[in-house]
């Protein structure tokens, strides 16, 4: 019992330590590739590999950290409430942008998969990669894909989104903070939103909002597609 507790605590501390180190490095060098989420994950993966520790052992501490994710999404209501007037005022551009993003996601996944000659079963599992995990699993089940592939795709997409967000916004010359947040949240759900929150209060609020809206609209689209086919 005490041993179990010690193991759990050890891996939590390992995760916190690697996050602090990564964050310090990121602040020092400011390279997007040194994104703290990616860097600390890589650091932990390397440690697990060197000492031959299975993921299931690490995850004894990991699940404790992951269990905060649910309440964290609830908390996203706070920046949304603080920016309520601006978000409500831009209701049409926000929904319009999200619908454009969802269509871009469908088209780009199918197009790229066809280009690289990827199996149809994988295509169906990648379609919903931009939305939050529970909803993505639901979407993949409706399409008849493999939901374990979806879970990985969602995790990878979130990490990629957090890394590329500053570059897409800079080189894409995105002007308004709301547009920045909506883009990040629509492309890369909650993990991307963690980056958006860092970039600014209004960006975080818009990104949090788009997690919910993108999830719902994507599911509705898939229901519609299923009905038509």
């Amino acid at each position: 019992m005490i041993k179990e507790l010690a193991i759990t605590l050890f891996y939590i501390i390992l995760t916190i330590t690697s996050y602090i180190i990564s964050d310090k490095l990121y602040i020092k060098f400011k390279w997007p590739i040194l994104n703290p989420l990616l860097l600390s994950s890589c650091l932990i993966i390397i440690i697990l590999m060197i000492f031959n520790i299975p993921y299931s052992t690490y995850n004894k501490g990991g699940v404790v950290i992951t269990s905060i994710l649910g309440p964290l999404v609830v908390i996203l209501a706070i920046p949304m409430y603080r920016n309520r007037y601006n978000l409500l005022k831009n209701f049409i551009p926000i929904v319009g942008g999200i619908i454009a993003g969802i269509l871009a996601s469908f088209v780009s996944v199918i197009g790229l998969c066809k280009l690289f000659k990827v199996d149809n079963s994988i295509i169906l599992s990648l379609i919903s990669k931009s939305i939050t995990t529970p909803m993505a699993i639901e979407a993949t089940n409706m399409l008849g894909g493999n939901s374990s592939i979806t879970i990985i795709a969602v995790a990878i997409t979130g990490t990629i989104g957090a890394i590329i967000a500053p570059m897409v916004i800079k080189y894409g010359k995105i002007k308004s903070d709301i547009a920045k947040g909506i883009g990040i949240g629509t492309a890369s759900h909650a993990a991307g939103t963690s980056k958006a929150v860092e970039m600014g209060e209004e960006i975080g609020a818009a990104s949090g909002l788009s997690i919910a809206v993108t999830g719902i609209i994507t599911i509705l689209f898939i229901i519609l597609i299923n009905k038509l086919m």
Partner: protein, 127 residues
């Protein structure tokens, strides 16, 4: 001491809202499988809008957790080393597809929102 007490109350409030979200999720699951966390987000938002809950009652904990939000995703990202075997043979290609698609989606969404916002703003000033 008073501050610690306040934080504990805040955590309890947030957690209760989250649990309510999960409970509601099981009810509406047959219609749409909306995660409990997202339902909780809508509940918290409604409570704030109706004034039943003041922002000060959740703000301190909220600000702290949001500041370090990225941290809580680390175990999931580390988990990729275990789950990637499902697509072992196509892993690199899938990674490439997800990367390109993510850039496209983010760019298209940002640009469309930006564009629609500027049109609407133009309309307002023309009126």
């Amino acid at each position: 001491m008073k501050r610690l007490f306040k934080i504990i109350i805040e955590i309890i409030i947030i957690y209760i809202i989250y649990l309510c979200g999960n409970l509601l999720n099981t009810v509406i699951k047959p219609i749409i499988n909306m995660p409990g966390s997202l339902i909780g987000m809508i509940i918290l938002l409604s409570l704030l809008f109706t004034g039943l809950l003041k922002l000060e009652m959740v703000e301190a904990t909220g600000n702290f957790l949001l500041k370090y939000m990225g941290f809580f995703f680390i175990p999931l990202t580390v988990g990729i080393i275990e789950t990637y075997v499902v697509i072992k043979n196509d892993f690199i290609i899938v990674l490439l597809i997800l990367f390109i698609s993510c850039i496209i989606v983010m760019f298209v969404t940002c640009k469309t929102t930006d564009y629609l916002m500027s049109i609407m703003k133009g309309k307002v000033t023309n009126d």
